[in-house]
Amino acid sequence: MQAGRIYLDNCVTTCPAPEVLTEMQPYWEKKFWFPGTFISTGESTNSLINKAQNTIAETLEASAQEIHFTSGGTLANNIAIKGLANAYKQQGKHIIVSVVDYPDLLTNAAYLEKNGFEVTYLSADSEGFISLEELKSAIRKDTILFMTTAVNHTVGTIQPFAEIKAILESADHKIYYHLDAGQGYGKIPLKVNELGIDTMSISAHKIHGPQGIGALYQRTGTKLAQLIHGVKRVDNLQTGGLSIALIAGFAKAVELTFRDFEANTAYLRELSNYLLNRIEKEIPYVELNGPRGEKRAPHNINVSIDFIEGEAITMMLDQKGITVATGSACASEGLKANYVLMAMGKTHIQSHGSMKFTVSRYTTKAELDETVQALAEITQELRNRSPLYLAMTKEK
């Protein structure tokens, strides 16, 4: 991270933990070998991979052989979603997803839709929870797959897992269940049997691990049609020659995150609550997007700041050395308002003025103090330039 910079965009990526960098170093320099049998170099790498699988599996209450390494969450999502759809298409070609899900899920759904599958898109309520009533009524005889995002990437909403599981299990046939846990893993407890999931994607760089490595959980007995064809180096899914150093770093990051999971997540929630309280107290005309309290992931605060536009706020904070994210259309590739916020029924102004702050265990209250002070000054400055703010003050 750039020295002196306050980084509050931890839902996108996190800084690697120093222990992770130390852990990886020998594997870049000396122990770079691919797995293999008979010879000591390959066997040593086998052991490392097995150990890393175990480390991750324990956190999910899964088995080591159910963990497959991938180049990241997106590859894991692709292998799972296309793999499940194609493996079970003889039983049906209907898939259910929601309009607020992570782009990996929505783009895969769109791809499958173009290739002969039917997709039902569930709506979401004003806090980003998917409609359980719609889920119930969407299930058909030919429904083979339901997928959702454990923690919403924009507003931090934790989906109602117990209710989802009960609905899926009440169907008179098996519906496979894929969970994107990119934002959820390491932030909320995720136990595979409790969730009732068949596949799940996770990513190392969201939990202070290295970029370029993730994992796919695949329940024993669940089939995945092969997506990638190539040499089997590290994984049966033929994901190619994944970096052993990155796997070692991922395992270390998992170990650090889960070593004191309760305290870690409590600290994240304390930081988020502190930030939200200060923003709400010190900046008028601000509205929280997403749920308040325990139904929200502990690291996410998303607020709409009225009368001003998020890209301008983000740019000004950046000039002051503070990195945050916005749902403004001007900051998006397609120049469109944030689709999650719009699906939640927010207005264009609320979406364009939305600011997302995501904390990490390295964030300090002093950094949040500095951020709120800067945000309050910037908000006032931009409101002084805003015709919408002027119109509001005239009306009052």
């Binding site: 536009e309 301008a312 740019m315 308002a337 264009h348 102004i349 364009h352 330039r385 015709p387 002027l390």
Partner: protein
């Protein structure tokens, strides 16, 4: 997209920003739904039809604010025709000026 230093300077420290008291003309273009809205105020010399003062308010992104700052600088001191043709219309489309007189 990387903004140039000039754009950044105009965004961080815009010129001619603020509501004008008793303007000769005022126009608002854009829409909050699109994420951009600008109001421009003018004072115009009756005889010479020259813009003697100009200011703006902006709801919008950095480039919106910087553009308003730059074009208002450029339009100041020009005749209405010159400004409309060369600066204001070019940047924001055809303004429907509303005289407050």
């Amino acid at each position: 997209m990387q903004y140039s230093q000039k754009v950044l300077d105009h965004f961080m420290h815009p010129h001619n920003v603020g509501k004008m008291e008793n303007p000769d003309a005022v126009a608002t273009e854009g829409s909050p739904a699109c994420g951009d809205q600008v109001t421009v105020y003018l004072k115009v010399d009756d005889k010479t039809k020259t813009i003697t003062d100009i200011s703006f308010l902006s709801y919008g992104c950095a480039s919106n604010i910087a553009t308003a700052s730059i074009i208002t600088d450029m339009a100041k001191g020009k005749t209405l025709e010159e400004a409309k043709k060369n600066y204001l219309a070019g940047c924001y489309g055809c303004f429907g000026w509303t005289s407050s007189r």
